[in-house]
């Protein structure tokens, strides 16, 4: 079971030099602790794939995947695909969020209009966005526009939904107090409702952007001729499973970097700082 917390009393008797050395080594230890599980996983995978004797089509070995990674990188295919995917995702996610926030801001002015819009928005959020893909392809044919529209849509509705629910969550007392103190409608929206909804909006964007990143894979598989999603699916058709795995790993790494380096810090800087972690879903 979990150990007692005060396990390493001995550390305090180690003296200053040891402690300083430990402090310097802390990041190294952290990285080691982070990477060790992956090293072990890759080792086990290599042994299992070699011993099982399956072809690299069914069960590629890590060395196959590494070779494919090197090959795709050397030919410039992988960097180009990553750039393509990130471009579509960035444009789609930012414009989707902009439209969602803009529309939400307008709707902040009228409560009846919000009451009217919310069920529709809820419904659009409920439609698993990929269900639109067949229709989107009918609209835009195959290509960049179809993928972009898919991403745009996927981000727009969670953001809009969170603006609206965020506004509803602002306590009535606050609204009335501000109104009583003589604020007009514009001031109420600008100073109370919109800032009040902001943490929820940030969360909505993070969720929407996450869904959009997943939707990107399928949209690219269907409608694009490049991109990480295209790589993942195209390689299955050509029987190069190790390339599929390269795509999956790259996809995971990109999202981790984007999420931890950009989205999470934004959330921490807004939602958590204002002590509103309740809105994390």
């Amino acid at each position: 079971m979990v150990e007692l917390p005060a396990r390493d009393h001995g550390a305090s008797t180690g003296g200053a030099p040891t402690r300083a050395a430990l402090a310097v080594l802390a990041p190294v230890r952290g990285t080691f602790k982070l990477l060790l599980p992956f090293a072990v996983l890759v080792g086990v995978w290599q042994i299992a794939a070699t011993v099982s004797g399956y072809s690299s089509y069914l069960f590629p070995r890590p060395t196959d995947v590494a070779a494919a990674f090197w090959d795709l990188g050397r030919k410039g295919i992988l960097p180009a695909y990553i750039a393509d995917s990130m471009t579509v995702w960035l444009i789609g996610a930012l414009s989707g969020a902009a439209v969602g926030i803009g529309l939400g801001f307008v709707l902040a002015f009228s409560r009846p209009l919000r009451a009217l819009f919310l069920p529709a928005v809820r419904f659009f959020v409920a439609i698993a966005e990929l269900a639109w893909l067949p229709l989107i392809i009918l609209w835009f044919q195959f290509g960049f526009t179809a993928v972009l529209f898919m991403i745009w849509y996927t981000v727009l509705f969670p953001v809009l939904f969170n603006v609206l629910t965020g506004i509803e969550a602002v306590p009535n007392v606050t609204r009335q107090a501000v109104r009583t103190l003589g604020a007009n409608r514009w001031q109420l929206v600008r100073e109370v409702l919109f800032p009040g909804a902001l943490p929820s909006v940030v969360t909505g964007f993070r969720i929407g952007a996450g869904y959009a990143f997943r939707a990107l894979i399928i949209a690219e598989a269907f409608a694009a001729g490049s991109g990480v999603g295209f790589l993942i699916f195209e390689s299955r058709e050509t029987g190069l499973t190790e390339r599929t795995m390269v795509g999956m790993i790259v996809f995971g790494l990109i999202w981790l970097v984007v999420d931890r380096l950009f989205l999470r810090p934004i959330e921490v800087a807004t939602v958590e700082r204002w002590g509103m972690t309740a809105a994390r879903l």
Partner: protein
């Protein structure tokens, strides 16, 4: 603006609100407006029917799909896969989570792996699932189970780590065995996180299901929609989209909302940590 007019404006808004609430299913009014907008667009903008089917065509298509039984077959196929995948994924997730709970070192070791796999869970596995399971239900169930497993496991670990170690230590000191600690402390302690994980994974599982059905299935709602688009039958595509949205809304209402209200909210624990 004088106070008088403002109050009148306020009264008007209040009356409008009351009226809106009186028309209890506001959703119906919204629906009527959406249909009206759609009808107007179709009537006055010159959009070919394979891009924007008319309201009537979609209604006919829905009726035909329902009366031929095609719709319910597809829905049954999809829901069956979802249920099976969800059951497999969540039970495995809980089991592995509890297993890991017995060792802090093991948990710290596994955590980075779970974080990574949670990120790529679901949709990205579809091509591999096809390689391993062929076409049909197999890969779809695998993808759903995969999505649920990693998200549930991730939340289980977060839940277990949120249990104050004092509780665990004191239970141990008072003579509880491993199993007893798991049953009486770990499981209840991690329950809120687990429930949130289940809820969250349902949303992702549903999306993974639709995506997988678009690509590998031979029946189900996603397949129905894609097949219609290959025939340029936009009416059936839109009908499929509507059914997919409505199915999720009903599931959400019937399953997830009551579950959330009866557990997480009732216990006053609406502070889930979802990563």
């Amino acid at each position: 603006m004088s106070p008088l007019t403002r109050s009148r404006g306020g009264r008007l808004t209040a009356r409008a609100l009351k009226w809106l609430r009186g028309a209890r299913p506001v959703g119906l009014l919204t629906l009527a407006l959406v249909v009206l907008a759609w009808w107007l667009l179709d009537r006055f903008a010159d959009i070919p029917p394979f891009k924007l089917p008319s309201v009537g065509a979609v209604a006919t298509s829905l009726r035909e799909l329902a009366s031929s039984g095609e719709l319910f077959d597809a829905m049954a196929a999809s829901l069956q896969r979802l249920a099976l995948g969800f059951l497999i994924g969540s039970s495995l997730g809980v089991a592995v989570g509890l297993l890991l709970a017995s060792s802090k070192h093991l948990m710290e070791f596994i955590r980075p792996l779970v974080v990574f796999f949670q990120v790529i869970a679901g949709i990205a596995w579809i091509p591999l699932a096809i390689v391993w399971f062929g076409l049909g239900s197999g890969p779809v169930i695998f993808v759903v189970a995969n999505a649920v497993f990693f998200i549930v496991l991730f939340n289980m670990l977060a839940g277990i780590q949120s249990i104050p170690s004092v509780l665990l230590a004191s239970t141990r000191t008072l003579g509880a065995g491993r199993l007893r600690v798991i049953r009486e402390v770990v499981l209840p302690g991690a329950l809120t996180h687990l429930l949130v994980g289940l809820e969250l994974s349902m949303g992702l599982a549903w999306r993974a299901l639709v995506a997988a059905e678009l690509i590998v299935a031979t029946d189900g709602l996603g397949f129905l929609t894609l097949q219609a688009s290959a025939r340029f039958d936009a009416a059936t595509v839109v009908a499929g989209i509507i059914v997919i949205g409505a199915t999720w809304l009903v599931m959400h209402r019937v399953l997830l909302v009551p579950l959330h209200a009866r557990t997480v909210e009732r216990w006053g624990m609406t502070r889930p940590i979802v990563d």
